[in-house]
C-alpha cells in the first residue's frame, strides 16, 4: 500500500510517500500507530494516542473519502495524510 504525505508533512518528514506491504487488511488506527512509530514527527509533540490526535492533528483520505479510524485498509489502497479539516 502507499501512504502519501501532503506537502506540510512531506517537508517535515523529508519524503512525500511511503510504501509498505500489508499482509492482511488492518484498521486505519493500527496503520497510523505504525506510521507514528516510523515517523514520530507526525505526533507533533502531542501526548496521548492516535485516537486523541486523529482529526485534530491530521486526517487521512482515501478514494476521495475522509477515512475513519475503524475503516479497513488493504494492500491495494493509497491513502493521503493531510492537515485536519476545520474551517469556518
Amino acid at each position: 500500500m502507499v501512504v502519501l504525505f501532503s506537502s506540510i508533512y512531506s517537508e517535515r518528514l523529508g519524503r512525500d510517500r511511503y510504501e509498505m506491504e500489508l499482509e492482511e487488511p488492518v484498521e486505519l488506527k493500527k496503520l497510523l500507530e505504525h506510521l507514528e512509530e516510523v515517523f514520530p514527527d507526525l505526533k507533533n509533540q502531542s501526548r496521548g494516542g492516535v485516537a486523541d490526535r486523529y482529526a485534530s492533528h491530521y486526517l487521512c483520505i482515501g478514494h476521495g473519502r475522509i477515512l475513519r479510524l475503524g475503516d479497513i485498509i488493504t494492500d491495494r489502497d493509497t491513502i493521503e495524510i493531510i492537515p485536519p479539516i476545520m474551517g469556518g
Binding site: I8, G48, S56, I66, P83, P84, I85
Partner: protein
C-alpha cells in the same frame, strides 16, 4: 430566571434622539433564547415585506445571548439582525470578539437602533448613560482607524462595533466590524449598509457590571470537565486557524475554484493555514471566553502587500484565493485586510470578483468596463484592485458592490448563469457537490446561501451529536434521510445562534447536554432536550414566516444550475450532483410546511408562534 439576562433591551431612535428601555417578559427569553431568536422576533414584529432595508423603518438589532459575559466556553459572540439590503429578506450575521460581553456588562441584553440620524453619529453605551455623539471626525475613516480614534477619545476599555467607508457608501456587501485590528466581522447579508443608511458610524460599549449566574459553582465545575477535551480536539484550529482546513477541503472536493468551475488545484498548499503559520504568522488571538483561539495575527514586512493585522480566515482564502485562482498567500492576506478596513464581507467580495473574472474571460465585459484592468484568473493585482473599487464604490466595483444577483440582472443576457448565489447571497467557500446536505441547507437557509445555518457538513466530517441521532459522522453523498437531518441541524444551529455559542465548538465535542447544563447553571431553567429543540424549530420557522412575508416560496429554495447540473470533473467530489428536488420532497413534510414551502397552521400552533403571523 435567576441569571443570564438583564431583561433590558435598549431602544435608540436616531431620528429624534429618543432612548428608552424595554423590559420583556421571561416568556420571550425562554421561547427565543437570545441572539438570533429574540432578534428575529423583534424584526418580525417591527417590519414587513414592504420595509425598505435602507429606510429609517428598518431596525438594526444587536443582540447577545444568555452566556455573554459568563465563563461559558466560546460564548463571546453576538448577533446583528435587520432586513437585508443585499437579499431583501431576513438578514443576520454574527461575530465573536469582545463586543457582545461588553454590551452585557453595560446592563443590556440587546440594542435596537431605529430611525436615521441627520448627520454622521456614533452611540456610546455605558452602565450609567447612553449618548448619541457627533461622528463628523470619524466619517470616512476605515474600521481600524475608527476603533483607534474612539479609544483615544473614550479610553482603552471601550469595545467598538463600526462600519468602514463601504458601509457609509451603502455598498450591499458591507460588514459591521468589531475589535479593531483583532478583526471580527458581522459579514453576511450587507448589514453594514443598514448601519450606513442610519448614518451610524459606530456603537461603542463600556461596562463593568457582573452578569448574574444562578449557580456559579455548578457552572465552574461543568466547564472544567469540558474544556480539556475541547482544547485537545481543536488543537489544529489553534495552531493554524480556520485556514488549517484549506488543503483538506480541496482534497475532498469542497474548496471553491474558479467561480465554481474548477475541480482540483495543485496550488492550494501555497495558501494553507499551515503555510501561514510557517511564513507570516506573528500571533494568535481569542474571542472572549474562547478556548480554541482561531484568530490570526500576521505581518508582511515588505513588498506590495506590506501589512500588519488580522490574518485571513478559511473563507477569505476560499473566495479571494481559490475562487479567483490567486495562489499568493500574501496577496490574499492583504486583500482580506483591505476588506476588514473598508468593512466588506470577504465571502461576498471574493465571490463578486470571481464572478467578474469569469465575465471577463467570457468576453461579456472587457477593458472598457474594467477601466483598463486585466481581470484575469489568478491575477493578484486585479483581485486587490477590485477590492479597492468595491470598497470605494468606484468603477466596476460600484456594480459588483450590489452583489452578484443584482449585478447579473443589470448586465443581463446570459450573465445570471455565472452569478452563484441563493436568494441573493453569494455562496460561501463550501461546495454542495461535496456534501449533498449542503445543497438542501443552502436552498432553505433563511438568509440565503450559508454553510452555517445548518452546518450539516460538520456532522459529515468529524462532529457527532448522539442525542440527536448522529452517533457518528454521516456519509456525505447519501441521498436519503437528508430532509429530517438538515431540519435537525438547522434547528440546532438556531439554538447556538441564539445562545451565541461558537459553532467551531462542535469540532471540540460540544453537545446539547453541555448546553442544557450551562443554561441551567446560568439561568436556573431546567430545559429538557425537547423544549430546547422546539425553541430552535420555533426560531427557524419564525424566520421562514418573515421570508414568506417578503414573497419567498418554494421557487426560491434552490441553488444555481452550475452546482446542480455540472459535476466536478476530478478530485474528491468527482461526478457527484446533489439531488435537491428529492431532498426537498423529504424536507417540507419534515418541517411541517406545505408543498410551496409555507409553514402549515398546525406547525405554527405547535410551536406557539402566535396568531399574528
Amino acid at each position: 430566571m435567576e441569571g443570564g439576562y438583564w431583561r433590558k433591551i435598549l431602544h435608540i431612535n436616531l431620528s429624534d434622539g429618543r432612548v428608552w428601555v424595554q423590559t420583556p417578559d421571561e416568556d420571550l427569553y425562554r421561547k427565543y433564547i437570545g441572539g438570533s431568536g429574540i432578534g428575529a422576533r423583534f424584526l418580525y414584529d417591527l417590519t414587513d415585506g414592504y420595509t425598505d432595508p435602507l429606510g429609517p423603518e428598518n431596525p438594526l438589532i444587536f443582540m447577545t445571548g444568555p452566556f455573554a459575559g459568563t465563563p461559558v466556553p466560546t460564548s463571546g459572540r453576538h448577533q446583528v439582525i435587520a432586513k437585508s439590503p443585499l437579499t431583501g429578506i431576513y438578514g443576520e450575521g454574527d461575530a465573536g470578539g469582545t463586543w457582545g460581553p461588553g454590551l452585557k456588562r453595560c446592563g443590556y441584553d440587546g440594542i435596537i437602533i431605529e430611525g436615521t440620524s441627520e448627520k454622521p453619529a456614533y452611540v456610546l453605551v455605558s452602565e450609567e448613560r447612553v449618548r448619541i455623539l457627533d461622528a463628523k471626525d470619524l466619517w470616512g475613516r476605515d474600521t481600524y482607524e475608527t476603533d483607534r480614534k474612539l479609544k483615544e477619545i473614550h479610553g482603552e476599555n471601550i469595545v467598538v462595533s463600526c462600519i468602514g467607508p463601504a458601509g457609509e457608501k451603502l455598498i450591499r456587501l458591507s460588514a459591521i466590524m468589531h475589535d479593531g485590528s483583532s478583526a471580527r466581522a458581522v459579514g453576511r447579508t450587507g448589514l453594514g449598509a443598514v448601519m450606513g443608511s442610519k448614518k451610524l458610524k459606530a456603537v461603542a460599549v463600556s461596562g463593568n457590571k457582573k452578569v448574574p449566574v444562578a449557580d456559579p459553582e455548578g457552572l465552574r465545575s461543568s466547564i472544567k470537565e469540558v474544556v480539556p477535551t475541547m482544547v485537545q480536539k481543536t488543537f489544529g484550529m489553534k495552531q493554524h486557524g480556520t485556514a488549517g482546513g484549506t488543503v483538506a477541503t480541496e482534497r475532498i472536493g469542497d474548496f471553491p475554484l474558479k467561480n465554481w468551475t474548477g475541480s482540483v488545484w495543485d496550488k492550494v498548499e501555497n495558501i494553507s493555514g499551515q503555510r501561514m503559520t510557517e511564513t507570516i504568522l506573528t500571533g494568535r488571538y481569542f474571542c472572549e471566553s474562547c478556548v480554541i483561539g482561531c484568530g490570526r495575527e500576521v505581518e508582511i514586512k515588505e513588498g506590495p502587500y506590506t501589512m500588519k493585522g488580522a490574518g485571513p480566515e478559511y473563507e477569505a482564502l476560499g473566495t479571494l484565493g481559490g475562487m479567483c485562482l490567486v495562489d499568493s498567500l500574501e496577496a490574499i492576506a492583504y486583500g482580506a485586510e483591505l476588506c476588514n478596513r473598508y468593512g466588506l464581507d470577504t465571502i461576498s467580495t471574493g465571490s463578486a470578483i470571481a464572478f467578474a473574472m469569469e465575465l471577463y474571460e467570457q468576453g461579456i465585459i472587457d477593458k472598457k468596463d474594467t477601466g483598463g484592468l486585466d481581470l484575469e484568473w489568478g491575477s493578484a493585482e486585479a483581485m486587490i484592485e477590485m477590492v479597492h473599487q468595491i470598497g470605494k464604490g468606484e468603477g466596476l466595483g460600484r456594480l459588483l458592490g450590489h452583489g452578484v444577483r443584482e449585478a447579473a440582472r443589470r448586465i443581463g443576457g446570459r450573465t445570471p448563469a455565472f452569478a452563484i448565489h441563493t436568494k441573493g447571497l453569494e455562496f460561501p467557500a463550501h461546495d454542495p457537490r461535496a456534501f449533498n446536505s449542503l445543497a438542501l441547507g443552502y436552498a432553505t437557509s433563511n438568509r440565503g446561501a450559508c454553510h452555517l445555518q445548518a452546518a450539516s457538513y460538520m456532522f459529515e466530517k468529524t462532529a457527532v451529536m448522539p442525542e440527536l441521532g448522529i452517533p457518528e459522522p454521516k456519509e456525505r453523498f447519501r441521498t436519503d434521510g437528508q430532509g429530517e437531518f438538515v431540519k435537525v441541524c438547522q434547528d440546532l444551529m438556531c439554538i447556538l445562534d441564539s445562545l451565541k455559542v461558537c459553532k467551531l465548538a462542535l469540532y471540540g465535542g460540544l453537545r446539547t447536554t453541555h448546553v442544557r447544563e450551562w443554561l441551567k447553571c446560568v439561568t436556573g431553567w431546567d430545559m429538557d432536550l425537547e423544549e430546547l429543540m422546539a425553541a430552535g424549530e420555533r426560531i427557524f420557522n419564525l424566520k421562514r414566516m418573515y421570508n414568506v412575508k417578503c414573497g419567498i416560496t418554494r421557487k426560491d429554495d434552490t441553488i444555481p444550475g452550475r452546482i446542480l447540473k455540472q459535476p466536478r470533473a476530478e478530485g474528491g467530489a468527482r461526478g457527484n450532483l446533489p439531488p435537491l428536488e428529492r431532498m426537498l420532497e423529504e424536507y417540507y413534510p419534515a418541517r411541517g410546511w406545505d408543498s410551496d414551502g409555507v409553514p402549515l397552521k398546525e406547525t405554527i400552533e405547535k410551536l406557539d408562534l402566535g396568531w399574528d403571523l
